[in-house]
Subunit: 136 residues, 2 copies
DNA sequence: GCTTGCCCTGACGTGAGCGTCAAGGTCTAC
DNA sequence: GTAGACCTTGACGCTCACGTCAGGGCAAGC
């Protein structure tokens, strides 16, 4: 089942521009028809779907490389290779690090918000003009 | 205490380029000496410190605007104004949304990792060549 | 006068993942 | 033969917060 770039794009729910970009990044390749048109098959569709699935859970295109390589090496799933497992672990570590940073930030922002609200509720003066002037 | 851009930069632990950028974004302003040099005072240092503090907890430069405006309006702290409180709340919501997405991703990646490992440990064939061939 | 060190503006580069022209070739149907 | 739908490459645009030149002015010490 030979597809042209537009066919593959609509099958995968992606743009042709994205497909050409993946090719420029070495993630996918294409046969060429005599007229220069790119030609793809189901294996390519699988690759693109793998890329999409990984992207949707936070993988960058570069992160998907081991999975793509694994599939292209003939494995049934992109994560049947040790490199893919490693990539999962690294991503998990990245996410955990990110979660840690975000949680810390959340706490700081929540704290600042609470204090600011408290000051507001207490009617604290927000400008340091002299008190005697204010009472005049 | 008049400072030139290099002085303010080293006081704030920032680059002169960053200061000029803040100015280009309308966050800070500077007096000009007759020779064209920018001149700053302690109030400007406060502004920059506020910007830095907010940046460090995840605020974009644009997000810091209400705080900067609040300080410039004469308030003692950048978060003495209602707009700043709003900004805190929006940021908190952003962070929570981000935390939600990240947690979901974490779960998905962890799940995929676990399954992939299980397949590996179970010695599942990773390529679908015919079984008879494999047993030959 | 010359070096040194500060300052100025303007403008391009960075990274990610494409979007969006521009200018053209190809194939099919009418 | 021509309209329309597809394809090609190339190149700039976008976000963000600056980094990093390039090319030049200003001020002080020797």
């Amino acid at each position: 089942m030979v597809m042209r770039i537009g066919d593959l794009a609509s099958e995968a729910g992606i743009t042709t521009r994205a497909l050409r970009f993946y090719e420029s990044q070495g993630l996918i390749t294409a046969q060429r028809a005599p007229n220069g048109y790119r030609e793809y098959d189901e294996a390519d569709l699988r690759l693109v779907r793998e890329i999409q699935a990984l992207q949707s859970i936070g993988f960058s295109l570069d992160d998907t490389r081991p999975f793509v390589d694994c599939l292209r090496a003939g494995h049934d799933t992109g994560d049947s290779c040790a490199e893919s497992i490693d990539a999962y672990e690294r991503k998990l570590a990245d996410i955990d690090a990110c979660l840690g940073v975000l949680s810390a930030r959340r706490a700081q922002v929540a704290d600042k918000l609470e204090r600011a609200r408290a000051r507001l509720a207490a009617g604290c003066p927000t400008t340091t003009t002299s008190t005697t002037e204010q009472e005049h």
